[in-house]
Amino acid sequence: MKYKDYYAALGIARGASDDDIKKAYRRLARKYHPDVSKEAGAEEKFKDVAEAYQTLKDPQKRAAYDQLGSHAPGQEFEPPPNWQQQYSEAPFAPEDLDLGDLFAHLRGASAAGGGPAGARRARRSLPGQDYEIAVSISVEEAFHGTQINLDLNMPEYDAQGGLRRVPHTVRARIPKGATDGQRLRLPGKGGKGFNGGRDGDLYLNISLRAHPLYRADGHDLYLDLPLAPWEAVLGTSVEVPTPAGAVRLKVPPGTQAGRQLRPAQRGLPKPREGQGDLYAIVQIAVPAKVGDAERELYQRLAQTSAFDPRGHFVESGHAN
């Protein structure tokens, strides 16, 4: 079993008072709770903080934890002799076990006096735990659908009511149409229930990875379409990439920057039917360097053209 330093997780000294423990937990929970925090890695941090708090807030569990002694975090260790008989309600094999799982199932102070918990558990059914996992997929995977393997390592009860970690892999098909913020539910793939309790569920929270070309909003995709000034003025036909392959897009003469050209139904497919759109947003791109001949043409254009892009400044009386 690997040691975890619960005092360090809460940022407190070993001799901290119950009040200090509660305060430290509250402060860290506000900072890292996954429903509240958007900080990177918040979920993992909160898990550590919550696990530490669940053990240290309970005087009996805290005493059991303190008797394990102090080791370096991650160091393999064994509980002292008799520790298991004194505190644990069910047999366990330390090498298979996570310290947090062990303490979650120790008899706490609130349950004291209720007889051996192993006996209670034998009669009671317990539902398995639900888990949420963040899964990030590419725009292409969202478009075509994909298959992912989830390597899971969840605590399970054995026939004696003891706990062990069982690594296993679940294969899930991410159907096409999953997009940013969408969730999928894998029924029964969470923690196993005990004694007839229902198996927990696995929830996948989908996010889309940033793409060099496309930006997603729901099932719609946005793409910048740079045009040369003469293309925008004269109109043209350009090839535009889409997740389903390139399409030809007609750019009408006199196309302004910011205009959205929309090849219909070229966005991400929607879960049951329909498809989002792809919007190509026109940008007028200007060459950073021009040769002499080109410069001369621009100069002639400047002398010939009567176009005044800022005419409305004067009309509204805000210039001159």
């Binding site: 709770h33 429903d35 930006r215 997603a216 791109a285």
Partner: protein
């Protein structure tokens, strides 16, 4: 190692009765009923027959259970927190929609202003 294939359900396809919502969220029905009475959990539609809940109710109910357990909140506190989280969700969706429409600074491959 054995690979288990799994059934995958769209979160959005859930249509749940109150007891089903209780089972999936881990909150007791009485508590869900109270959150519902406060408008913190909204049903799919108000009808004459049994109330049905959808994905947004399931999301809220699961959040409610976590908030209640992890912050030791009373139900009124949970209801307020849910309302605020929902509001933040709406604002983030708007922000993402606007960002998607915003052109990136320079067309890829062109190094503007570095001649």
């Amino acid at each position: 190692m054995q690979i288990e294939a799994s059934e995958v359900l769209w979160f959005e396809q859930h249509v749940l009765t109150l007891p089903e919502l209780a089972e999936l969220s881990g909150l007791p029905t009485a508590m869900l009923q109270e959150l519902f009475d406060w408008g913190a959990i909204t049903p799919l539609e108000h009808g004459t027959h049994e109330i049905r809940f959808g994905a947004s109710a399931l999301r809220s109910a699961r959040s409610a259970r976590r908030l209640q357990a992890d912050f030791e909140l009373d139900l009124q506190g949970v209801a307020v927190a849910l309302r605020l989280l929902e509001r933040i969700g709406e604002l983030e969706a708007q922000l993402q929609a606007l960002r998607a429409r915003l052109p990136q600074q320079a067309p890829a491959g062109l190094e503007l202003g570095r001649s």
